[in-house]
Each structure stands twice: as C-alpha cells, then as structure tokens.
C-alpha cells in the first residue's frame, strides 16, 4: 500500500515536471509567433513604415523567390563553406600553437604579452589589411575568419593544457612516460570538454569574420546579401539574410551540442 502510494506520488511529480516543460516550450514558441504576428499586422495597417522595417510576409515572398531562382542556396553555401573552413583551420592551427606553447614554457612566457594584446584588439580592424595582403576573394575572407577565431582558441586551449593536475603528470612520469605520451594520453583527452566549449565560441567568431569579410569584398554570400540589400535600400533582403544567418548559426550550435552529448558520456 505504502509502495503503491510512492509510485503514485512519483508519477504525480513526473507529470508536474512534464507539464512545466511543456508550458515553457509553448511560451517560447508563442512569443515568437506573437512577435511575427504583431510585426505583420503593424505593417498591414501602416503603423510602421515597411520601407524601413519590411514585413514577415514580404520576407517570406522574397525567400520563396530566391529559392526558386536557386541563388539563395548559392549564397548560403558560400558563407557556410567559408565559415567551416575558417573555423576548422583556426581551431586546428590554434590547437597546434597551444601545444607549442605548452611544450615550451619559455616561449609561452615570451609570447604572452603579444597574445594578450592580440586578444584585446578588435580583430575586425585587421580585416581590411588582411584582405589587401591575402587577396580580395574567398581566401581573404577565410583568413579574416581564422584571424578572429584563432586567438581565443590558442588562449583557451593553452590555459586548459596548463590546468591539468600536476600530480596526474607526475603519475605518468612514474610510469616512465615521455613528454609526447603525456600530451597524447593526458593533456589532449583531458582538454576535450574545454575544446568543445571553445568551439562553441570560435564558430560564432568565425561567422563574424566571414560576414565582415563579405561586407568588404565579395560577389556572393550572406554578408554580400546584407550589404547589397542595404545599398539598394531593399530592407527585405537584409532582414531575410539576417534571419537565415540566425537559423544557420543556431543549427551549427545545436550540432556541436549533440556531438558533445554523444561523445562526452564520461562527464557526470
């Protein structure tokens, strides 16, 4: 009897948790729907100037037009490829440099002030220089993306490498481990959780680099759509590009979160 009661109480508890979660989701979706609806209605009744704000239905129509013309996927594809290439190159290079700094404490100390300055510098300021040096094409945009994301990767990963418990290193030393064994058996695997949180930051920064790069020089891409739309005063295009950008970067973030959950089952 007592047991039955417990099961019943637990069911009740689970039901309440579920109910609350559902309410949160409904409210989240509701807020979005409400905002879009208000925007659309305000546009229909001329409460806002659609020349400046566009409207959801106009954006949707434009979206369909771009899709049927096939050019939208071209723009998205170019920006996504630039971002992923920039992000991957920035992450790999950043990890290699961080390993170098971990390996040589002398050079880590020597380079420390330079990294601090590079980190505090708004790296978008470098974009025009990079594009002049590297060239006004995809490569210039990708290098801009790398330059924006790499410093955070270097600093976060180096800090992560150094935060590994020194007694764990001593333990491997008692087994007679070499420095490269310490790196591959302890330092690198132990830094995977930090790597994933760094990736979450650097993928966003890589997008910043790509969009800034495309603002400066490009013939296609989401950044190009935004600049083009604003120059011809077609806010529909700008708004559509921004919405697409938001959706894609949210999707990328989600993918990383799924990967994290799948591979890090050893974390509590």
């Amino acid at each position: 009897m007592y047991n039955d009661n417990m099961i019943k109480n637990h069911k009740e508890f689970l039901k309440n948790v579920k109910k609350r979660n559902r309410l949160i989701l409904i409210t989240q979706v509701g807020l979005l729907v409400l905002a879009i609806l208000a925007w659309e209605l305000a546009a229909r009744f001329n409460l806002i100037d659609t020349f400046l704000t566009s409207s959801p239905s106009a954006i949707w129509k434009l979206f369909i037009k771009y899709i049927t013309a096939g050019s939208l996927f071209h723009h998205i594809g170019i920006s996504v490829v630039e971002t992923i290439v920039g992000f991957l190159a920035g992450t790999i290079l950043g990890i290699i440099i961080a390993i170098g700094l971990w390996w040589s404490d002398f050079w880590a100390k020597v380079l420390d002030p330079y990294l601090v300055i590079l980190n505090s510098l708004p790296k978008t300021a470098l974009a025009p220089i990079i594009i002049i040096w590297v060239g006004a094409g995809y490569s210039g945009i990708i290098v801009t993306a790398i330059s924006i994301s790499i410093v955070v990767t270097i600093m976060n990963m180096h800090a992560s490498f150094k935060s590994v418990d020194s007694d764990k290193i001593r333990l491997l030393n008692t087994f007679g481990a070499s420095k490269s064994q310490i790196l591959t058996k302890l330092i690198l695997p132990g830094s995977i959780p930090n790597l994933i949180s760094t990736i979450k930051i650097s993928i966003g920064l890589s997008w910043v680099g790509v969009i800034v790069g495309e603002f400066l020089v490009s013939k296609a891409g989401i950044g190009y759509l935004i600049v083009y739309g604003s120059q011809v005063f077609k806010l529909d295009i700008v708004m559509m590009a921004v919405v697409i950008l938001a959706l894609i970067s949210a999707l990328m973030y989600k993918i990383i979160a799924v990967v994290e959950k799948k591979f890090l089952n050893w974390i509590e």
């Binding site: 418990d165 007694d167 764990k168 001593r170 333990l171 491997l172 030393n173 008692t174 087994f175 007679g176 481990a177 064994q181 058996k185 302890l186 695997p189 132990g190 995977i192 089952n265 050893w266 974390i267 509590e268």
Partner: protein, 258 residues
C-alpha cells in the same frame, strides 16, 4: 621477514631553492628497507615526507647522498616502482579497465595476456561489475582500489604510498586501508607509506620511521610488534593491547605543538 635489501638510502640530503633563498628540506637520512616490509613514515607537516618519496621514486634528484633500489642507484623514474597518490587520479575519459592498464600502455607492454590479468584482478578486488564504467560512477573507496590495481599491474618491487587514504571520508578510509593492507601482504609487496595518521601507520606498518621538523631527519625507527590471533589485518592490529602504547610513544616523539 626476508633479508633481501630492496631500498638503501645513504646520507640523503635535499635542499630546494626559491627567490627568497635556500631551504634544507631533508638531511642525513639513512635507511634500509627489506623485502616484504611495510614502512610507515610519520612526521610533522612540512618535514619533507613527500619529498623523500619523490626522491625514492626518481622524480626528483637528491642534493647529496644516494638511493639504491635492488642495488642500482636511482637517477630517473624506475619502472619497478609503483606510486600511489593522495587522490586516485583516474582519468575521467577512460573506463576503469583502460584506467588500470594505462601504466602498461605507456610502457608498451599492453597485450591480451595482461588485459586478461587486469580483468581478473578487477574481479578479485570487487570491481568486476565496474570494468566498463567511468570513474565518476564509482565511490571514493572503489576509485582508490582501482588506483591500487593500476599500480600493482606493473608488478613493482616497491610501492610508494603518499597519504593514499587522506582524501577519503573516515569510514571508507578505515575499510580501504584495511583492505589495501591485506592486499599488500597477500601480494608480498614492499611498501613505503607516508601518512599523518598515527593509528593508520601503526595498523599497517612493520616499522615506523619518525621524522623531525624541517630540516627533516630520522628521529627514531620503531619496530611494530602486535599480539593478535590469526592472520594480521589492520583492523585487528587496532585491537592489539600494544596499539595504544605505540600510539602514545609516537605522539610524544612527534612533539607537536600548536
């Protein structure tokens, strides 16, 4: 007791340097340790107990004097020494089986035979069901047991235990120190254990070395002979009538003022 000398420490001295100057941590340490012995090292905090272990393990070099293990001078980490730390230092991303075999993996000795041996040992010491679990799924005592298996799999001639139970809560600590004491005897191991727990030292050790304040030097070496029925175990040792006398004697010799 066997007469085979495992460790020989002669006129050992250690000085370390900081920006403020030099500090003599240990001086004039002479000690022989024989096969199958468990030596307890107690001393006031900061007397260089852990430094002594680090030197025996070859992780740091003595400033003066020498340490010989099986007749060979220690000048780098030796593969026949096992070291156990305060914390278990299991790697969170490896399951228990891969954790206990990491030493073998580093030394390039990993093969099916040693893996089977590791599995057998995990089963023998009550971790059979947790072979493929990750460390965070185990209790503190089980983790420390896994750490011991990791050390024993390398079949060390000498085990160095650096306050191996101090990170555990009191009950677990009693249970696991009892268990590990039995394992060490059963596997015929020679061990040096640093501890600040006098009772733990008496219950596990055959001899206890008392160090003085810094610079640490050997004040006394006490042979522990307890009367008990049947096989010796650390818990039984605590019930022996001599236990209290040893405790008081060591406490007095430590001469701790707060």
């Amino acid at each position: 007791m066997n007469d085979k000398k495992i460790v020989e420490i002669n006129n050992l001295e250690f000085t370390y340097y900081t920006l403020e100057g030099e500090t003599k941590a240990l001086t004039d340490i002479n000690l022989d340790i024989y096969h199958n012995e468990i030596i307890g090292i107690v001393g006031p905090s900061g007397c260089g107990k852990s430094t002594l272990l680090s030197m025996i393990s070859g992780l740091i070099k003595p400033s003066n004097g020498e340490i010989k293990i099986n007749g060979n001078i220690v000048d780098k980490p030796l593969k026949n020494i096992g070291y156990m730390f305060q914390k278990d230092h299991l790697f969170e991303w490896r399951n228990i089986l891969n954790n206990v075999t990491i030493g073998l993996e580093i030394q390039g000795k990993l093969n099916q035979k040693v893996i089977d041996n590791a599995k057998k040992m995990l089963v023998n010491y009550g971790l059979g069901d947790f072979m493929y679990s990750y460390p965070h799924q185990l209790s503190g005592g089980m983790r420390q047991r896994a750490a011991l298996i990791r050390t024993l799999l390398l079949e060390p001639d000498l085990l160095l235990l650096d306050e191996p139970f101090s990170a555990l809560d009191y009950q677990t600590r009693l249970a696991i120190s009892d268990e590990i004491g039995l394992i060490l005897k059963k596997e015929n191991k020679t061990a040096i254990m640093v501890t600040h727990d006098i009772a733990e030292a008496i219950s596990l050790s055959d001899r206890i070395v008392i160090l003085t304040n810094r610079p640490g030097t050997i004040k006394d070496i006490i042979d522990i002979e307890l009367s008990y029925q049947g096989e010796r175990s650390p818990i039984k040792a605590r019930e022996a009538p001599e236990f209290r006398q040893y405790f008081n004697r060591i406490w007095k010799e430590l001469d701790i003022h707060v």
